[in-house]
Amino acid sequence: MIYSLSLLLILVGLYGVIVSRNTLKIVISLVIMEHGVHLLLILVGYRAGGQPPIVDPETAMAVFAGQAVDPLPQALVLTSIVIGLGVLALLVALCVRLYERYGTFDVTEIRRLRG
């Protein structure tokens, strides 16, 4: 169920990228889409009632592995958020520069290149 919600978030983002005419709204939709993926990644590593993945010397390794949540997707999401931030900064900078040149955020008016 909760998986389908994160997929829904991805689809909402994709819909926004396709139908938006405002460059900034396109960028926001991309961010929504990215966060949908991050949520999905976190859910893959989730375990109901699991404990934090920090090794406690008193617990046996086999017991620990049976109880802890998967830490790898969390590491991946951290990396992915950083990448997303880089892309976001670049895209917003492009939007600002585009506004300076064309005086608009409307993609239907930013059309100098042929098809």
Partner: protein, 485 residues
């Protein structure tokens, strides 16, 4: 084995070091960048035959990050680093007209880092990270001139690129959820155990969409004809020559042959994508009058040939595809450098306004003739041999229809290349001629190096059609199916 890390660490460090050192003396950035690129080109040849795994930080396979050097990576490394050396030499004089050369070199080296990382990465997530490094650097490089068209093209490219990266990340998530690992060798072993379950089929579909967008195969090509011509010439050469192959075609081949395992369904997808790109790209190219835009459409068409060769799935088809990959990298970057020289000398890229350039730009004229003849597949040149191998492989595999289309498209290629040659270089000069300047020395050197590369690659077949240097070993890596060294 430790030299594998140099392919990533060296350009990454230099990208930052240059920003600090060359802040006061811009000429230092020319020297440092080209020294770095020369070193990389030399060690990429040195890497041939020294295959193996490199564990970053000494952490072994299930825990640490693996870099994997095998014949296929080695082939791609040589192609990437030689073309970037030529583009780097060319930038020294060409990029003078732009504002900040130091920043340009920084982004350029990041692009090289990303591509080297993608072809060396041994696990899916690092592949994704390096792919993003290359992609973000290329978005910024396309917008480098900050004029109207460049910003527009870059925005379009960045949005589509981010969507495709997101698809790839969803695919990686599904693969991880099913197999519990990100290491490509382990994923391959798990998939051959459990077979293609529905989530894996979904992941595969997402990978096909994502990487086809990066490789600009036809239903996903919309960004390429805007992005590649808008970038400065050395960057266009890098994007069209190597980026679409290193982060598109290479990864597709790696995933299909080495990770997911070859099935007829997967191969058919690749074949059809290839044929559609081949036809659409060539027909659209024939109608262009802007030189760089024409070459960009031609890239779509030529990448179609590579995808078709890979999609045949036979050893001969793969040899043809990999050979064409190396050839296309050399002649397409040569042609983009030629287009840059023409634009710099005359201030226009419009074929209708150009003419008689052979007299004013002798080096550009001669090298572009070699490039054009190579891409059109005129017999002594390399493009002829690789197309011939792909067409023979298609006939051998029983796809007579595809073979016929490939021959027909190669004639269309000849037509539009002759159009460029006739209008720009051979026609009677137009009256603008008096203001035109000759091409500078280093730009000529870069073009001559690549033209020499075209000729050297055509000599590869002399050693035997079925066993060209390295390409055969790379083909065997793919045919061996599941990973293993």
């Amino acid at each position: 084995m430790t030299m594998i890390i140099l392919f990533i660490a060296l350009p990454l460090t230099m990208a930052v070091v240059i920003q600090v050192l060359a802040h006061q003396r811009p000429v230092l950035s020319d020297w440092l960048t080209n020294a770095t690129l020369l070193t990389l080109a030399i060690i990429s040849f040195y890497s041939v035959g020294r295959y193996g795994l490199y564990h970053i930080g000494g952490w072994t396979t299930p825990i640490g990050i693996d870099l994997r050097l095998d014949p296929l990576s080695s082939l791609l490394l040589i192609v990437i680093n030689v073309v970037s050396l030529a583009a780097g030499l060319y930038s020294v004089e060409y990029m003078r007209s732009y504002t900040s050369k130091t920043h340009f070199y920084g982004l350029f080296l990041l692009l090289v880092t990303g591509m080297n990382g993608v072809v060396l990465a041994g696990d899916l997530f690092n592949l994704y990270v390096f792919l993003e490094i290359a992609a973000i650097a290329s978005y910024a490089l396309v917008a480098f001139g900050c004029a109207h068209e460049e910003l527009e093209a870059s925005f379009k490219y960045a949005v589509l690129g981010t969507v495709s990266s997101t698809f790839i990340l969803i695919g990686i998530t599904f693969v991880y959820a099913v197999t519990g690992t990100l290491n490509m060798a382990q994923i391959a072993a798990r998939i051959s155990d459990i077979g293609m379950t529905p989530p894996l089929v979904l992941a595969f579909g997402l990978f096909i969409c994502g990487f086809s967008l990066k490789a600009a195969l036809v239903p996903f090509h919309a960004w390429l004809p805007d992005a590649h011509p808008s970038a400065p010439a050395p960057v266009s050469a890098m994007l069209s020559g190597v980026l679409i192959k290193a982060i598109g075609i290479y990864v597709l081949a790696r995933l299909i042959f080495n990770v997911f395992g070859v099935g007829q369904g997967e191969l058919a997808v690749l074949r059809w994508l290839g044929v559609i790109s081949m036809v659409a790209g060539a027909l659209l190219a024939a109608g262009q009058t802007d030189i760089k835009r024409l070459f960009a459409y031609s890239s779509i068409s030529q990448v179609g040939y590579i995808a078709l060769g890979l999609g045949l799935g036979t050893p001969l088809g793969l040899v043809g595809a990999l050979y064409h990959l190396a050839n296309h990298a050399v002649f397409k970057s040569l042609l983009f450098l030629n287009a840059g020289a023409v634009e710099q000398a005359t201030g226009t890229r419009d074929l209708d306004k150009l003419g008689g350039l052979n007299r004013t730009l002798p080096v550009t004229g001669a090298t572009s003739l070699i490039g054009s003849m190579s891409i059109a597949g005129i017999p002594p040149f390399n493009g002829f041999w690789s197309k011939l191998i792909i067409i023979l492989a298609a006939v051998e595999a029983g796809f007579m229809g595809f073979a016929t289309v490939a021959v027909a498209i190669s004639i269309v290629t000849l037509v539009y290349q002759l159009k460029v040659q006739r209008h720009a270089f051979f026609a009677a000069p137009k009256d603008l001629l008096t203001t035109w300047r000759q091409e500078p020395r280093l730009m000529s050197l870069a073009m001559v190096v690549l033209a020499f590369g075209c000729i050297a690659l055509s000599f590869l077949v002399v050693t035997g059609l079925r066993t060209p240097f390295l390409i055969n070993a790379a083909q065997e890596t793919l045919m061996r199916g599941v990973f293993g060294l």
